[in-house]
Symmetry: C2
C-alpha cells in the first residue's frame, strides 16, 4: 500500500516559469525529487518557445491557454496577481489544485494561506481548490515568531524590514546591478523596475499606499500574519523598506509577549524550530546576513535580546532567502503537504488510481 | 556694543582635520561664515604637512602636540575616542573649550551632551570645558522625536536603523565602493574597515556587544537620548544595522506616547520644528531617501502613520546626513551657541577684550 502511494506521481504546471520564483520552483522540484509524471512550463506568449533543461530533458515553454491545464494535477502559479486572477479558476475547473504565489487570493476566506511549519492543517480545507502562498516578508517573520508564539503568546509585533531587489523580480535584480554600474561610472542609473535609484540608496517600499499611509507590503505582513496564525486580533505594525541587496530579506522584529520570556528560553525554542537556524556568534559579532541567507532553505535568526524598553519584550533579527523560503520553497512545501494528503487518502481508500491532488 | 561683540573672532583648531567629519567641519566653518581669527588643522603625524585650501589661503596640517592648543579658543575634535581622551584635557588646560565628536565624554556627568535644537541651555554648564557632540543616529532621532516629546510626552521608543558606510569614516566609504567594484567583477571584496562585505549586503552594527547583546551603537542611542532629553527613565530599544549606502543614515522609529496623538498633529509639530523637513508625497509614494538627505542640513522626516498596533503609537521614518547634522554640523552649531553666549557675556560686562569662549 505504502509503495503504491509513494509511486503516485503528479502532473505539475508552473505558471510564470521564466520569472525569478518560477526559475527557483523548477530547481526545487528537481532538488527535492518531487514525484512528477509531467512538468509543464507556462508563461506569457512573449516567453513561449524558450527552452529549459530539466532532469536531462529539454522542456519548451508554452504560452498559457485554457488548454494548458488539461490533465494537470497541480499548478504552481507565480506570474503575478492579475495572471492568477485570470487563470486560477480555469485551472481548478480543469481539475487542478492551484498553489498561488500572488496576493490575489490570500485574504479570501475560502482560500487557505499556508506556511507548512505553521499551519499545515489549513491546506486541506480549500473549497476553491486554491491554496495561497503568503508574501515573502510574512513567511520569513512567521517562521521565527510562530515557534515562540505557540508556546509563549505574543501580543504585539513591530517590524522593520530590509528588503532585497529580488522582491520586485528578476528584472529588478538586474536593474540594481545596472544602477550600481551606472553610478560607479557617474552615469544616471536606470529606473524602470523601481521608481527611484536603489543602488547606494534605499526607500520605503513602493507598493500602493492606503488611507492610513501603510503600503500594501506592510498591510500584507499585518493581515497575512493574523490569518496564518489564526489570530485576527493580533496587534502588528510594520515599516517595509527596500535596500540595495540582491536576494535575501532581513527583518528587525520587536515582540511583546503576554508574559516575560527569557532570551535563553527563546533561543531554546528557536533552536528546535523546523526551518529556522540560529546564527549567533557573540564573540565574532557575527549574525545573520543576506549574503549568507541567499540560496539557503532555512530562515537565519539571531541577535535575540531582551527588549530594554519593555519587561515582556524581545528583539530579534532574521535574514531569509526571499525567492526560496520567501516564495518558491514554501510553495513546493505546500505541494509536498498535498502529496502526503494524497498518500493518506490512497492508503485509506486503496481504490482510486487517479491522483487525489 | 552689539557691533563689538559681532566683531569678536575666535581661534579654532580642528583635531582630526583629514577625516570625513574633519573635512566637513572645515567646509561648514566657511559656509556658515564662522568668525575665525585663526584656523588650525591638526591631525596625526601621518597627515602632517598635507595642505588644504581655505578661504583663499593654503593651510598646512600640523601633527597634534601639547603646543598645538596655545592661544586656541575652541577645539573641534573628531579624531576618535582615544585621541580625544589624550588631548581634550591638554586643550582645556591651555584655555580652550573642546567640542568633542567622539564618544569619550558623552556620558560623563560633568560634560553636557548637546543637540542645539533640543537642549541648547546645557552647553553653558561645562565644568570640564568640554561639550560632547552626540552619536549620529542619536542626533537624527532626537531631531525628529524631541519636537513631539516636548508637546506630547513620549513613553517608549523602538528604533531600527539603516546606517551608511560614512559612519565608519572616509576609508569605509571608499571601501564600500571598492567592494562593490570587486563584486561586479566577481572578485573578493576587500574587508578592512568592515568585518564583512557591505556591498549588496548588510549586517547588524559591528561595534562591541555588551552582556545583554546590545552593541555600543545601540546603547549610545538609548543612553544619549535619555541624557539629551533629560529623561533618565525614558524607555528605548534599538537595533542598529549597517547598509550599503554611502553617507546618510535612515531610521524607522516607533513611538508610544502617553496619550493618543493624531498624525495631523504630529505633522503640524514637525512642520514647525527647526532643522526638520517634512517630506511626504503620498501621491508619488515619495518619502525621505538617503540620496536626498546627503549634503543637506535638515533631517528629512516622513511616512508619519498611526501605529496600527497601539492606540498611542506613531510610526515615522527619517533620513539625515550622518556627516553633516549627524556630526559636523551639530558640532558647529554648538560652537555657534558659544559665540552667542560670548556675545551676551560681552554685552553684559562690556569690559573684557578676551574671548569668553
Amino acid at each position: 500500500m505504502e509503495e503504491s502511494a509513494l509511486s503516485n506521481r503528479v502532473s505539475v504546471a508552473i505558471l510564470g516559469a521564466t520569472g525569478a520564483v518560477g526559475t527557483e520552483l523548477i530547481e526545487l522540484l528537481d532538488e527535492r525529487d518531487f514525484p512528477l509524471s509531467e512538468l509543464k512550463l507556462l508563461a506569457s506568449p512573449r516567453s513561449a518557445g524558450k527552452t529549459i533543461d530539466f532532469r536531462g530533458e529539454t522542456l519548451t515553454i508554452e504560452a498559457v491557454s485554457a488548454e494548458s491545464f488539461k490533465n494537470v494535477d497541480l499548478v504552481l502559479a507565480s506570474a503575478g496577481g492579475s495572471t492568477s486572477q485570470k487563470w486560477a479558476r480555469v485551472a481548478t475547473e480543469a481539475g487542478a489544485v492551484v498553489i498561488d504565489n500572488s496576493s490575489a487570493f490570500r485574504m479570501d476566506s475560502d482560500v487557505p494561506l499556508v506556511v507548512p511549519e505553521v499551519n499545515p492543517e489549513a491546506a486541506s480545507d480549500r473549497p476553491k481548490g486554491i491554496i495561497a502562498n503568503p508574501n515573502c516578508t510574512t513567511i520569513l517573520m512567521a517562521m521565527a515568531v510562530w515557534p515562540l508564539h505557540r508556546i509563549e503568546p505574543v501580543e504585539r509585533i513591530v517590524v522593520s524590514t530590509y528588503q532585497s531587489a529580488s522582491g520586485a523580480g528578476a528584472k529588478a535584480m538586474a536593474e540594481l546591478l545596472e544602477q550600481t554600474k551606472a553610478i560607479l561610472n557617474q552615469a544616471n542609473p536606470p529606473t524602470e523596475s523601481f521608481p527611484y535609484p536603489l543602488a547606494f540608496n534605499l526607500f520605503p517600499h513602493n507598493s500602493p499606499l492606503n488611507d492610513l499611509g501603510y503600503c500594501q507590503e506592510e498591510m500584507k505582513m499585518i493581515n497575512e500574519t493574523r490569518k496564518i496564525f489564526d489570530e485576527p486580533e493580533l496587534r502588528l505594525s510594520a515599516t517595509c523598506v527596500r535596500v540595495p541587496v540582491l536576494r535575501a530579506h532581513s527583518e528587525a522584529i520587536n515582540l511583546e509577549f503576554k508574559s516575560p520570556i527569557s532570551v535563553d528560553r527563546a533561543r531554546e525554542i528557536l533552536t528546535a524550530a523546523p526551518g529556522v537556524k540560529l546564527i549567533e556568534d557573540w564573540q565574532a559579532n557575527y549574525f545573520p546576513m543576506p549574503i549568507d541567507a541567499s540560496g539557503q532553505d532555512d530562515v537565519l535568526v539571531g541577535r535575540i535580546r531582551q527588549d530594554l524598553s519593555h519587561p515582556c519584550g524581545l528583539e530579534l533579527w532574521l535574514c531569509g532567502d526571499q525567492i526560496r523560503k520567501g516564495a518558491a520553497l514554501n510553495a513546493v512545501q505546500i505541494a509536498e503537504l498535498l502529496l502526503q494528503e494524497n498518500r493518506q487518502n490512497l492508503s485509506q481508500t486503496a481504490t482510486t488510481s487517479k491522483s487525489a491532488i
